[in-house]
Point group: C2
Chain length 306, copies 2
Amino acid sequence: MGDCEERDYEYGVILKNPNIATMEEDVLYHISLSTGTHNLKEMFADVKFVCMGGTPKRMKSFAHFIQKELNIKLPTGTMLEDISKHSYRYSMFKIGPVLSISHGMGIPSVSIMLHEVIKLMYHAQCKDVTFIRIGTCGGIGLPGGCLVISKEAVDGIMRPYLELHILGKIVQRPAILDLELARELKTVAEEKLSNYNTVLGKTMCSYDFYEGQGRLDGAFCNYEEEDKMAYLQKLSEQGIVNIEMESLAFAAMCNHVGIKGAVVCVTLLNRLEGDQVNTPKETLEEWQHRPQELVAEFIKKRLGMN
Amino acid sequence: MGDCEERDYEYGVILKNPNIATMEEDVLYHISLSTGTHNLKEMFADVKFVCMGGTPKRMKSFAHFIQKELNIKLPTGTMLEDISKHSYRYSMFKIGPVLSISHGMGIPSVSIMLHEVIKLMYHAQCKDVTFIRIGTCGGIGLPGGCLVISKEAVDGIMRPYLELHILGKIVQRPAILDLELARELKTVAEEKLSNYNTVLGKTMCSYDFYEGQGRLDGAFCNYEEEDKMAYLQKLSEQGIVNIEMESLAFAAMCNHVGIKGAVVCVTLLNRLEGDQVNTPKETLEEWQHRPQELVAEFIKKRLGMN
């Protein structure tokens, strides 16, 4: 592992790439940071919680919410800034020990961000970091507005690993989430947010929103309602409680680098009852706030604030 | 196919989904449009060219560029508006017969947008539509700034199809691009943009930016420089001239629905010489404008404007 193991990284991020330690400059292209132009240790060494979700809007709103929850005052005349704004790809905000970052939609998009944020944690010499994805999902047998904490992730054919093509070969990485962390989040939900329905369960991660999730309303569909229902029922019997599009890569990458990761999603609909998301915007926004509330309570607990 | 084949769609979009024609409302959730709230035919029936690329910024800049190139004047006191701004996921601009839409990064992200835009073309009864992806890529044996028009797309293990998991089964869709359209674009490049190096070639589409493209600079890398070079050399021998992250789904979905599609990318670096994108921003921006210039010349030619 070269240089990186010789330093003091007792609880730090050990990259599984010996090349990074010997590079003169490391350009984190898609988050618009670089070891050559930024003092990453000075900027990010105090980060303990990396929270991520699909849209820049949601993660900006989470940044403001967590600022309020953690009672963090910014210096007079300053405001939160999108640290990665020059990338035009992801948005990143820092509020004390919390990073709030958008990851776009789907496995490739979240994976680019994770590679670069994991390297950021390494360069900044962050220690004892927890990654949490705050997402939206379709519920299987759960109505809209439920909180789902993933205990494991599988792909569309129920395989519990992320498949990559590396140098022309197929490589499989186990998509393992930290069960202890998941349970800790569940306990926080029970203690602090008992008015919400919170479930610990298995998550199916799809590469596709329409056919990949058995929807009848995409541009393509060559199966019938009853085939779809039989499939969703089968998922339910195998313990799947929700479907989303990033958990497989998130779990596999956190596990591969040894960072504790959790996925907390809110259901936008019960897929046993329909395909289209046609709940009013205001309700959807209230629901999307629920994972943020849970993660805020979790962070406050970890920081000894409640 | 139900209702949709009974209407007058001589050159229109025939969905491969009979359900859409009988739905009371179709919510195109991720582009923030719906048959229930918008008169899609009135808004979009004249669209002939759907141009797409990664970032909202690039597609907004393309919208303004094509407006100038096509000499389209907006009514006094109006400006281009992001039609999908309420989705917070994709940006969409309309300039006469041209739609300019962002698709984010990676196959899942482009596929969600394509499902919904194909349905949009269907609802709006658009006819004789051409889809073009305007992207960035890594070159194999090509320096930065080259234009690559894809003649076919393959995945990371050289398979010329998109693999989906549908209702728990593996489905493969041929990733076929329209060769005639690709050649037409090449001819336009030769006639109008002869100062740029333009290549017609095979494109490898990866689900990953780092290991999936043989990079040495991700958070993970368990191979050596010489393994990477041997791999890229092998790609080159098999006719691959560039690597990007969306062409496989773009080609497979256009082919599956019968829409003519082309992929035009500019190389940001020669992968035989390095991994990191560290060319100055100004040069990168000039390069990223080149596919836009080619597509503008192509559209002008199609519209009989040159």
